[in-house]
């Protein structure tokens, strides 16, 4: 008996029981569709988080003065004065894995222009900061090294600040705004970046030369932090090692002493967030996988019923020359046909459902080709696995008894 004949026989048997075949298939359809939809949602949110992190600069490294304990009281990081300008300069000059470096000092307060005012944060940084955080200038220019040298009262503002202070939509470049009584001339406006994955408005900020903020706003000489970017995301660890070495040397820390600074990288955050979404994806896929399993058990159940119901048919086929393997193949092909057809319908439904979720609920989705291939492969395997025992049972029937089975 050849394959075409077997498929013909199986199709004929399925055609004789359309409703039952469809209901059996439904288990597989739902299983495959849910696997694909869940993976699409899981992968979609993972990708969207990754995209947001890389917007923020996935190779970013943040250095803060470390938690110090004075008299048993852990001090607030901003109260630390351990990070100095020479730390910044040494990082700029001595590292190989760091591409951009900027000191950071910041201050929150009201920004005022004419009759309008809005609370915001001023970040005292160097021009490198744009490259580290991946901001782009939309209008005007970034302030220059020259402005830093002279502690010029110039600033670059984010979109939210512009919207708040210039509600009429007039050109803000060249205007002078006040922040904590100090006038700042706007030299540039940043391109909007929107909200980040933590819900923070990335456009609600003012960038100014760090020297200006240090001297004229905060009246300090130390730095509140240093922000760097590694050459590439992969070099983050090497960059952190270099920075640690420089800072420990500069701060004259003895071997075995704790760091008086903390270094955090965006990579950590990214790893943490993606591991969370990965876990979510795995959980979703597990739930969906269970429904696929249930679908498979449905196939096995129906195939058992079918074998019992068709015992006489099996007996007849055997007595007119069907070998055990022919009977096995016939029932196996039947269950594979059910599961593969169900799988195909499931793929279509799953992709459709994912698109609906995207369209209606605006969830980010990403349909990975491998998830389609995988779930399809799984349901074929399901067909073989769950079809095997009933088919084996059929093949092992004794034709003498089967033909007279009532």
């Amino acid at each position: 008996m050849n394959g075409t004949n077997l498929i013909k026989i199986a199709l004929r048997a399925l055609a004789n029981n359309k409703m039952r075949g469809f209901l059996t298939m439904l288990g597989i359809i739902i299983g495959v569709a849910s696997v694909i939809t869940m993976l699409a949602i899981g992968q979609g949110s993972k990708r969207s988080i990754q995209a947001q992190i890389s917007e923020m600069g996935s190779n970013m490294i943040m250095i803060h003065p470390g938690a110090d304990i004075r008299g048993g009281v852990r001090q607030d990081a901003s109260a630390m004065e351990t990070l100095k300008l020479n730390d910044y300069e040494d990082i700029v000059n001595e590292t190989r894995f760091v591409s951009y470096t900027s000191p950071t000092v910041n201050s929150s307060g009201q920004a005022i222009y004419g009759a309008n005012n809005a609370p915001t944060t001023v970040y005292g940084v160097s021009p490198d900061y744009l490259y580290i955080r991946r901001y782009k200038i939309q209008d005007g220019d970034m302030f220059t090294e020259q402005d830093i040298q002279t502690a010029a009262k110039v600033c670059v503002v984010g979109k939210t600040v512009v919207d708040n202070l210039f509600p009429g939509g007039e050109n803000s470049v060249g205007k002078v705004i006040r922040f904590q009584k100090l006038p700042f001339r706007i030299v540039g406006v940043l391109e909007s970046k929107g909200y980040n994955s933590m819900g923070m408005d990335q456009d609600d900020l003012i960038l100014a030369p760090y020297t200006t903020i240090q001297k004229k706003v905060l009246a300090i000489t130390h730095l509140q932090g240093i922000t760097c970017s590694a050459l590439k995301e992969e070099y983050t660890d090497q960059a952190i090692d270099e920075i640690t070495e420089i800072l420990r040397r500069n701060h004259k820390l003895k071997e075995g002493a704790d760091d008086d600074f903390t270094i955090r990288s965006q990579q950590e955050l990214s790893t943490m967030l993606t591991s969370t979404t990965d876990m979510m994806t795995v959980l979703l896929a597990a739930v969906a996988g269970i429904s696929l399993l249930v679908g498979g058990i449905g196939i096995m159940n129906i195939m058992y019923v079918s074998v019992t119901e068709r015992t006489r048919e099996i007996g007849l086929r055997m007595s007119i020359g069907a070998k055990g393997i022919d009977i096995l193949a016939q029932f196996l092909i039947e269950s594979i046909l059910i599961s593969v057809t169900g799988g195909l319908i499931g793929v279509v439904l799953g992709v459709g459902a994912a698109l609906v979720v995207n369209g209606v609920a605006h969830f980010p989705i990403y349909i990975q080709p491998w998830s389609v291939v995988l779930s399809f492969a799984v349901c074929t395997v399901t067909g073989v696995f769950f079809g095997w025992y009933p088919a084996k049972k059929a093949a092992q029937l004794d034709p003498i008894e089967a033909i007279r089975y009532e």
Partner: protein, 246 residues
């Protein structure tokens, strides 16, 4: 005449619990090509076991069975399946047609298990077999749209389609009314006249009159084996029977 079936001291024992049941206790006979043999016996006589053995569904515990010159006793399951496919045509009491399947598809079935036949050749043979049993006008009827007599004709066509060495009929008229039974007997006699070898297993002694040879079984032994010199013509009897009104 060619020997189609040769049984040599066939014994078949079954173990039921702790007891051994001797279903066949040494059966020997030879059937030649073109014979129409009835094998009779009451229930428990061993005729079902004999039928299973003749049909290569079962193998004897001891003794030799040659089907068309081939020794069956030592054959494996698969080899016997192929042997059945090529050499034997079965006709069962309860027809055993596939449900919701057309006459042609039912008749084609044995050829489906023979890779030497193409789809076209299969169909041609099936149609010819159906014409031979007088169902040329019901090729595409499904099994549930046919009467008992028609279904048994389809089953006979199915038994003919592989040009078997022997047709094994197991109570082939058992489920049919008198008139239809005779119609089927007429068909068997016609096939016999065409030179086919037929073994008809039955418990109904009436049928023996229409065959060329009668073998009687009792308690696992052959008790009589006679050539029927006065073969009745089933067609004549059929002509005398009152017509069915329906």
């Amino acid at each position: 005449m060619k020997e189609i079936i040769k049984l040599d001291n066939i014994k078949r024992d079954f173990r039921v619990g702790d007891e051994t049941v001797h279903a066949l206790r040494g059966v020997s006979f030879t059937i030649h090509e073109g014979e129409f043999v009835t094998i009779m016996g009451t229930s428990g006589s061993g005729k079902s076991t004999l039928l299973n053995t003749l049909g290569c569904l079962d193998t004897p515990t001891s003794g030799e069975y040659y089907l068309d010159g081939v020794s069956v006793r030592t054959m494996g399951k698969n080899a016997r399946a192929t042997l059945r496919n090529r050499k034997i045509g079965f006709v069962f009491q309860s027809y055993n047609l596939l449900p919701k399947t057309t006459a042609v598809e039912n008749v084609e079935l044995p050829l489906m298990y023979n890779p030497n036949y193409s789809a076209a050749k299969r169909k041609e043979k099936a149609v010819n077999a159906l014409i031979a049993v007088g169902l040329g006008d019901r090729l595409e009827h499904k099994s549930n749209q046919m009467s008992g007599g028609q279904m048994q004709r389809v089953a006979i066509a199915r038994a003919l389609v592989n040009d078997p060495a022997v047709i094994l009929a197991d109570e082939a008229t058992g489920n049919l009314d008198t008139r239809t039974s005779f119609e089927i007997l007429v068909l068997f006699q016609k096939l016999h006249a065409e030179g086919r070898t037929i073994i008809f297993v039955t418990h109904n002694p009436e049928i023996s009159g229409y065959s060329s040879r009668n073998i009687t079984l009792r308690d696992g032994h052959v008790t009589s084996d006679m050539v029927n010199t006065n073969v009745l013509d089933a067609a004549e009897v059929l002509a005398r029977l009152p017509k069915n009104d329906d």
